[in-house]
Symmetry: C2
Subunit: 341 residues, 2 copies
């Protein structure tokens, strides 16, 4: 690469890694005449890393991000700068085109398409975890205006990082600390708790549960988890379970979408375990996570732009209790067939 690489610097106060460099969006917005993710425009994206076809045409395509914030080639080159920590901006950044249908949303895609999408997420995580430079493989998707999407065409992103991403790090610590204290998984306990009280269960299937978190950060925030302890989302991969999960996801997101027609924006994040084979677990902190970590999917609607209060304090405010959100979501779910395709 002749272009200068982005750099990773650790903020000594927050402990978070920041990506610094002119390659971040420096060339954006790139002007496309047509949506580059639509069928017929395949030459507008780099060659695919992975393609899932169905009846002879593609259903899901994975391509490298055209303007990656982290680059795949090179060594980490971790070193100190005076009292500070930095490393080269190494990582992977991929785009998953989720369907040929430009107008689809997660609530309208077919269950079969979503199952293929889940399978694709799993394949990319499994593949990228082979790279020992990467501590974590994060899959996420944004949908709707104001979430930073550059096209309405449904897509998700995969980012592999040589550190634990900011949205994941506190969870790992809390799960570990809870296990040390209780010798039980915090999310297994949460599931048992919500099944006793019942007041935050949005939907349940044979193997999965969808709940409104006790301290939901936004209206209709939803978690989907396996009922039995499992630390690796990417290994939960029998076709039967994928279809079951796909159907639950479609129904729950469909209910959220129809409750939030005026501002249908949300972010979905897959929380799976870090890369246990990574070279970066220098403190051996992850060795316990087979017991203490429980994978989950988090769906976070964005009903409003961030308020001035939230910007200043970092404290989330939520005008609807999770108990009330559960009632409204259940009411809406009652109108969506349980065996929807």
């Amino acid at each position: 690469m002749n272009e200068p690489m982005n750099e990773l610097r650790r903020d000594p106060l927050s402990g978070n890694w920041i990506i610094i460099g002119e390659r971040i969006g420096g060339k954006r917005p790139f002007q496309y005449e047509k949506c580059p993710f639509c069928p017929g425009q395949e030459d507008q994206t780099p060659p695919p890393i992975y393609t899932r076809t169905d009846n002879g045409s593609w259903l899901v395509r994975v391509v490298p991000d055209r303007f990656p914030v982290l680059q795949i080639e090179g060594d980490l080159n971790k070193y100190g700068v005076d009292m500070y920590d930095r490393m080269d901006g190494i990582g992977a950044h991929e785009i998953i085109i989720e369907s040929p249908d430009h107008k689809a949303t997660l609530g309208t895609l077919s269950v079969r398409n979503i199952a293929f999408l889940l399978e694709t997420w799993q394949q990319r995580i499994l593949d990228l975890k082979k790279d020992k430079r990467f501590s974590y493989i994060l899959v996420f998707r944004n949908q709707g205006p104001g979430t930073g999407v550059f096209t309405a065409h449904p897509y998700s992103q995969v980012v592999a990082t040589p550190f634990i991403p900011t949205v994941v790090k506190p969870n790992l610590k809390s799960m570990k600390r809870y296990f040390e204290l209780k010798e039980r998984c915090i999310l297994c306990d949460s599931i048992a708790q919500v099944r006793r009280s019942g007041d935050r269960i949005i939907a349940q299937t044979k193997n999965f549960i969808s709940i409104a978190p006790f301290a939901s950060q936004s209206m209709y925030e939803t978690m989907i988890l396996p009922l039995c302890h499992s630390y690796e989302f990417e290994c939960d991969n029998t076709w039967e379970r994928l279809e079951e999960l796909a159907r639950l996801l479609k129904r729950v997101v469909g209910a959220i979408e129809s409750l939030m027609l005026e501002n249908p924006s949300h972010t979905l994040v897959i929380h799976t375990s870090p890369n246990l084979d990574s070279d970066n677990d220098t403190e051996g902190q992850w060795k316990t996570l087979k017991q203490d970590f429980h994978w989950f999917i988090r769906i976070m609607p964005h009903p409003n732009p961030m308020s001035g209060f939230e910007r200043g304090t970092g404290i989330s405010t939520n005008i609807m209790s999770p108990e009330k959100a559960t009632l409204l979501l259940r009411e809406k779910l009652a109108t969506i067939p349980i065996d929807i395709d």
Copy 2:
């Protein structure tokens, strides 16, 4: 109060407190015919808590927030709900009207007005710290479109909370951990470091320094700190030092404003020590912070809306290195008189 109170719930995964309740902005947006912060509209706000006059008319006014997210009356009522933690939404939420001038910004207010504003921030912190229910008094201000301000009239907010706010908590931990390791204050070390290398010093006065942080999260992010170790912003209050700090703040923010004319939005946060007299330091974690905590002001411009990548990963991306931002800010500062009024 007959209205139901907001509730504070702790997210067991992130460890953060979330404010949940219908009183949050439930009645907003309130329609005012004229800006309620302008002279002549004083009856549109609740009676002032504090007023700073100059030559017979008010220069700075402090009023309770009309729609507070936390309320001042009542006991904390902390208790567990099953495996979770909650307490009543107790706190203080005040608005500081910073000037009679509707169109002023922090870069255009007079140095004298800013010095009065700094003094007002200090007075409110000192006063609210007398309340042992409050762990922290946070002062912040947003400026510009997209930051959640409801009027262009310059104002800041004071929030007193029975917990450490999310933006402050990791800093306290990092400062404490650094001190345990080095037996020195992390920001004293940072100042010594930047004075040796010189490449991130934006401006310096007799007692204060303005620097671009090593891992700046956004273009032109700036910290202003006292050169000598001091853990309490609110006690740094001789008039001479307040004027010196006001002048530095005006010059630096003025430089940022003129470099970011196209998107002049930023958030400023005062980071001072927690309330050492609070009843909430149950773990005795704050007893060391006279040594390990160093107060600072952080100015965080928002050049762009949050990207999809940042939403999904929580990882900040910054297209301009702090070294380059320093050069541009210094160039701009050279055009603003050192003895500006």
